[in-house]
């Protein structure tokens, strides 16, 4: 395909300049495709700017999610190795801490299984834990160390990947919301997606990739297909800058249970980590409250109690800011990656929940391979958009067919 000759056309049009869109654009440009990236705001204006920058192996479910995580980790370490400094890549390692006998027992069971799947995890007894994290609570009984867990500054990842993509020939246009899709009119659902409509005019493209995170469902609905991406709110608190006190990403053992949970109520498990700037991030709550932006004192209180239980010294430290974001999640807790057979020409890369930063690199590379007509390094079938069923003809009929 070649849509790159017209002034507005391109082989690939990426909607959304968060980390996932940025990585997709970057790798598509590397494949020699002509790429246009549109964002309704600036790069990293959505969930990418309201998270902790995690690249985690420790919290992944066995199966396709873990497989994609390991693939992505490889992309971060190899394909993107030369750019690590641009986004403050840190191989800091994660530590899961158990403070009760029962959680220690479950942690040990999880570790045994993960080891069987090749995860680099090491058991820490109380002394080893204290050596790794000298300020950890006296109550902590033991833990597990995940050396592969890393961290990046996610806004810098998105902004630099967009910049690198443009240096490789891609075009980025900020402040351009997509208001509809161009269709070729053939077929029962309006036909092939041939581009997007925006207030700045139409942008034709051979392939349109929906990388709009929590808004992915809305975008998909404009094309008459259902992609059930829902928001799950999370609060993160930031402390005043301190000398290094917390050396790894430190979680409580309950963290793993909450990640996979579909409970709507307020949950939180402590995730405490230092950053290169000296601040300590305290995360994070999980709530299904839609896009509610009301600050919740209940959430702040819960975060503070959990964090001080893990690191008692935090009680005397001041918080200087907090923020919240909306993790885009699908009901089966797997992202949506690949071509949407229900709306030919439309692709999705969204719904990575709390793992979007970590999974973005792998997602972008695999999708770029598929967009270039190659066989992706990893089978994308488990992430196929069509798993959510047929298009709703009612929604589709509202869309304007264009020739």
């Amino acid at each position: 395909m070649n849509f790159g000759n017209g002034p507005r056309g391109s082989d690939v049009l990426v909607i959304g300049a968060g980390v996932v869109g940025a990585a997709t654009a970057y790798f598509a440009a590397q494949q020699g495709l002509s790429v246009t990236v549109l964002d309704k705001g600036l790069p990293a204006s959505g969930t990418s700017s309201a998270c902790e920058g995690n690249i985690l192996v420790s919290d992944k479910e066995l199966g396709p999610e873990l497989e994609l995580t390991r693939y992505s980790l490889d992309v971060w370490h190899n394909d993107l190795a030369e750019h690590k400094k641009l986004w403050e890549f840190e191989s800091k390692g994660g530590i899961i801490v158990a403070s009760r006998e029962s959680s220690l027992a479950s942690l040990n069971r999880v570790m045994a299984v993960q080891k069987g799947f090749g995860v680099d995890v090491e058991e820490l007894d109380q002394a080893a834990l204290r050596e790794a994290e000298p300020h950890i609570s006296r109550e902590a009984l033991g833990g597990a160390s995940y050396r592969e867990d890393c961290q990046v500054q996610p806004m810098l990842v998105a902004a630099h990947l967009v910049r690198l993509a443009t240096e490789a020939g891609a075009r980025f246009i900020a402040g351009t919301p997509v208001t509809g899709f161009m269709r070729d009119g053939a077929g029962r659902d309006g036909g092939r997606v041939t581009g997007v409509r925006t207030p700045r005019g139409d942008f034709p493209a051979g392939a349109v990739v929906n990388c709009t995170g929590t808004w992915a469902g809305e975008l998909a609905a404009m094309a008459g297909v259902e992609v059930p991406v829902l928001p799950r709110r999370g609060f993160v608190m930031v402390t005043e800058p301190l000398p290094p006190m917390v050396h790894h990403k430190v979680y409580a053992a309950e963290y793993i249970d909450n990640v996979g949970s579909s409970d709507a109520g307020l949950q939180a498990s402590p995730v405490v980590e230092g950053t290169p700037s000296g601040t300590i991030l305290i995360g994070s709550t999980r709530e299904r409250v839609g896009f509610d932006r009301t600050v919740s004192t209940a959430a702040l209180g819960l975060l503070a109690r959990n964090a001080t239980a893990l690191f008692p010294f935090l009680e005397r430290v001041k918080a200087i800011r907090h923020y919240h974001g909306f993790r885009p999640y699908c009901p089966d807790h797997l992202p949506v990656i690949g071509h949407d057979d229900r709306a030919p020409g439309l692709w999705h890369a969204a719904g990575h929940e709390g793992a979007g930063i970590g999974l973005s690199a792998g997602t972008g590379k695999l999708l770029a391979q598929a967009l270039a007509g190659l066989t992706p390094d990893m089978d994308l079938t488990p992430f196929a958009p069509a798993r959510f069923g047929e298009a709703s003809p009612q929604t589709a009929s509202r869309e304007e067919a264009t020739a």
Binding site: A159, V162, A298, A319, H322
Partner: protein, 468 residues
């Protein structure tokens, strides 16, 4: 501890004091939360009353207004109508309304109180607006208002030889206060020109008190032989380890330094900068109050003729509605307090003519003393812009040009400007200008992003842990 009242007032400066008095005298139960230890705010800051029980008001303007408000405030407190909560900062205002407080930074020790109220009058005031210049991060460089506060609180000077620079009439009382306290002011450098006043004389003449103040300062300047240099700026603060001197220049109408006009002042102890004021908007913004750009380029809250904001029950008075000085703040506070005490009186209110006059005067003042359009030219790539996070002008230019950071929000993300201890209170305006680009003024959206601080003050994690 918690308190429930009809009207909660935040701030006890000119606006807050007036609002509290007016609301209490109209029959409301009032709570006043203030970071200071005694009423007066920055404008009427005075030595601790525990040390000097009867301050004489030396060096203060409108001291008789203060004494009158203070007497009424004390009487209402004795009558149980005002609950005064000093030494506390509000870190969060919840809709409906609940104010969560924490002990102010200095002196700590006040016990946090949660204040529940049907109506709020927010009078948080403002602070000196700063523009970076090479060397401004050296010790010995202060905000002009910081020098004044130092003198008012301590009755002593932070140094011996001073340079005061920036723009606006506020530079005059700062320099006069230094001279009266025995300091030597080598020069006051005003970037604007006196002729800038001419088109605005009519507005100025509506507020005769201001002319009187001006005459007083002129007398002080003459008595102490303080050189007042217009169309002049500090282009660099000189010194190794601390401020020791300044390099100055004459500027054109846009604030561009004119070649060959450079001059050095040596043996300087303190350099004070004041580029107008930034209203403290985090509480109004967190409650969703509509904002606008004022004539001085600051983001301010929008109010109606009763001082009510776009959020029902939230009233604003003082610098948060537009920088206009203490006399206007008192008038607004009186109006806001009375309206908040009787929100349903139903009588259409005509805005007091005095408020209209003072606002007109303030607008004229802002137009005569703009932030120079070309101020970004003064910077070198290694000039620090965000002191907390040590972010330079070069870092910001790079983020703007290579990563497309056009607003404060993305600048924060990409450079950490405004992410440190002060949360952009000092560098926010400058960063917003730099994001907009050379010669550009920031738009309201970018300034709103800078004013948005979900924690309005730092708060202990131990205190947060006690929340349910």
């Amino acid at each position: 501890m918690s308190v429930t009242v009809d009207v909660a007032v935040v701030g006890a400066g000119p606006a807050g004091l007036a609002a509290a008095v007016a609301a209490a005298e109209a029959g409301a139960r009032v709570a006043v939360v203030d970071a200071g230890n005694q009423p007066g705010g920055q404008f009427w800051r005075h030595a601790p009353e525990t040390v000097r029980p009867e301050p004489d008001g030396h060096g203060h303007h409108g001291w008789s207004t203060y004494l009158d408000l203070r007497a009424r405030f004390d009487a209402a407190q004795r009558a149980g109508r005002i609950t005064y909560l000093p030494g506390l900062q509000v870190w969060m205002a919840e809709p409906g309304f609940t104010l969560h407080t924490t002990a102010a930074v200095a002196p700590a020790g006040a016990v946090p109180v949660a204040v529940t109220a049907d109506r709020l009058v927010l009078c948080p005031g403002g602070y000196d607006r700063q523009l970076p210049v090479p060397g401004w991060d050296l010790p010995g460089v202060m905000a002009a208002g910081g020098i004044q506060a130092f003198i008012k609180a301590n009755g002593a000077l932070p140094g011996k030889r001073f340079i005061i620079a920036g723009t606006g009439p506020f530079l005059l009382p700062v320099a006069a206060g230094i001279a009266e306290a025995g300091g030597e002011v080598l020069a006051v450098l005003e970037s604007s020109s006196p002729s800038a006043w001419l088109p605005h004389l009519r507005a100025a003449s509506g507020v005769p008190g201001k002319a009187l103040e001006g005459a007083e300062y002129a007398a002080v300047f003459a008595r102490h032989r303080i050189p007042y240099r217009t169309r002049s700026i500090v282009t660099e603060v000189l010194g190794s380890g601390r401020a020791e001197g300044v390099r100055t220049a004459r500027v054109d109408a846009d604030g561009r330094a004119r070649p060959g006009t450079g001059r050095v002042y040596a043996d300087v102890d303190v350099v004070g900068f004041g580029w107008g004021f930034t209203p403290q908007l985090e509480l109004p913004v967190s409650l969703g109050v509509d904002t606008r750009l004022d004539a001085d380029g600051s983001l301010v809250g929008v109010v109606d003729e009763r001082q009510q904001s776009s959020v029902p029950g939230v009233y604003l008075a003082g610098e948060v509605t537009g920088v206009g000085g203490a006399a206007l703040a008192v008038l607004e506070g009186l109006a806001a307090g009375a309206a908040a005490a009787r929100p349903d009186s139903g009588v259409p209110v005509k805005q007091p003519a005095a408020i209209v006059r003072h606002r007109r005067f303030a607008q004229a003042m802002h137009q005569a003393h703009p932030v120079p359009a070309a101020w970004q030219d003064w910077l070198t790539p290694d000039t620090t812009v965000c002191r907390c996070e040590e972010v330079t002008a070069g870092d910001i230019t790079e983020a703007r040009e290579e990563l497309g950071a056009r607003d404060v929000r993305s600048l924060k993300s990409f450079t950490r400007a405004g992410m440190g201890w002060c949360q952009g209170r000092v560098c926010g305006f400058a960063a917003a200008c730099l994001g907009a680009g050379p010669g550009e003024a920031p738009d309201a959206g970018s300034l709103a992003a800078s004013a948005k601080r979900p924690l309005a003050a730092p708060v202990g994690i131990g205190e947060l842990a006690a929340l349910d």
